[in-house]
Symmetry: C2
Subunit: 335 residues, 2 copies
Amino acid sequence: MAEKIRFLLTSVGRRASLVNFFTKELSGIGELLLSDMSVYSAALHTGGKRVFLPGYRSEDYLETLLRACDENSVSGMASLTDYELNFLSSAKDKLKDHGVTFFGPNAEVSQKCLDKWLLSKELERLGFPFVKSYIELNEFKKALAAGELEFPVFIKPRFGSGSLNTFVAENMREVEFYYEKYKDTIVQEYLVGDEFGVDVYRDILSGETVSIFLKKKFSMRAGETDKAVSVKTPRLFEIVEEFAYKFGITGVADMDILYSCGEYYIFDVNPRFGGGYSLAHECGCNFPRYMLNNLRGIKNERAIGNYKEDICMFKSDGAVFTGMNDPAFRGNLNG
Amino acid sequence: MAEKIRFLLTSVGRRASLVNFFTKELSGIGELLLSDMSVYSAALHTGGKRVFLPGYRSEDYLETLLRACDENSVSGMASLTDYELNFLSSAKDKLKDHGVTFFGPNAEVSQKCLDKWLLSKELERLGFPFVKSYIELNEFKKALAAGELEFPVFIKPRFGSGSLNTFVAENMREVEFYYEKYKDTIVQEYLVGDEFGVDVYRDILSGETVSIFLKKKFSMRAGETDKAVSVKTPRLFEIVEEFAYKFGITGVADMDILYSCGEYYIFDVNPRFGGGYSLAHECGCNFPRYMLNNLRGIKNERAIGNYKEDICMFKSDGAVFTGMNDPAFRGNLNG
């Protein structure tokens, strides 16, 4: 009998749907382990075995993680937030030494995902259309004077996650105001067009991109896709496959692409499950299964575009309930 | 056999949970009708009979609504958004003429809910603690000079819904900047303390407040309660009951109350189901049943505090899926 797979999802947050997808795929072949730095995470109360980990900024985070992996014979793991993931990307080898495959990029790729300015430079280097970006106020002023872009412009945190503190600036006074109020600011040209969300899986054994799921977004909320519809666009399949290879995607990634003036602009890459992955899953994609296959030494077959088209997703007001007598609230996660 | 109750919920938005609660309560005794100005509303794809209504700002909104009520023999209705609700509060009598009981306040009370400045004045008049509020920049400057309040202060839209465009201003420059950028601004003192969400039902037949549900919030997201726990606080039950009577709550309301320096400050009143109502329902409250009872001529019995304490709610990533071949997307809501 094959060994049970123990898969750890960290920073599960509110993503109860992913916990359910993994639980289903692991049924009969393994077990799901969950962690979140907050015991008030919705997904932590959805199912699976809970593991206590401090926040990734904590000094004993990595040590606690490795010990938990050893104690629970974890063989694979993934993180659902950008900053923890970025930290873990530097610990990939250490995790490997403990028998844990981390489904995430290396530190260099991770940094390019987290830093909007680096991403823009990398896209330019690789020959993809890119959103013009400026971090120095003077550089932005020069570009403006040279007619490289004009108001309005987007202004946001260079290392931001979600849409937190993202504004449309109408004039220089607003830009200067923002630079005074916030550190690590980036100004980007304001492009208008159709926005696509992409869920991509690049097999960690074969290196082949095996699945690309495209959705057209038509509404955002709190930085996440709120309403979207599954679509198929051959040109985008090509662009995403080329990008995944050149950029160095490993396993799951979520990308945001804007179609403006005949060009597809990649403007955000998250090397993890995106907030709109549920739609891909509903349409027939199954990234958890791909991950578990890879863990068992099985290469996945190329299946780009194999999903249901024209399916809409509308986020609703789901909630998870649990009593205050849950042992998690007394620091005892599994009763 | 009693006549079937046909209940209309408008502006259902993403609130699939409420659609499910009403559907369950109406089972065997009636039918739920739903509308939203967007066919991409999650709740519209959750169940019930869909009714087409234009946005409340549309010229033929009221006429279309009354015709839909006539054609479907609607006897009761409620709206889930502040602005539509405010419009409907002026049409209460007209709806009554068509045999429809509108579960909402009259126009005067509705205006006091929508306008943070009026609410503050009304609380003062009724003798409740109130958050100091200023709409004129000069009045705010005078109050500041007189030491009535100090920085930081809250600055937000006077008629705002949710937490949209709400900021903490640290100095006068930021306040002036905001006044320049936005119309209808209100400055409020920045109070810190525990925040409570209240779901209240005041019987529309007996005039008695029959249910008060209290939750302590510990996290907000996109202006809605994201994490909360059910609590019981006798002093708050008294305050809310007194307020509901004096202020003129009718049917359902949702209130936000801040406990700061030994005082309970009511700072937001929405005369409708709040975004955190699911927790009240999970704990044993049942406002849809109260409403349907009232529609059938039954007065509800006082049951203040009859609910499960110490139950936590964590909002999760629920979603509703439907094919683009849904007739709603071709303007044909019910196939």
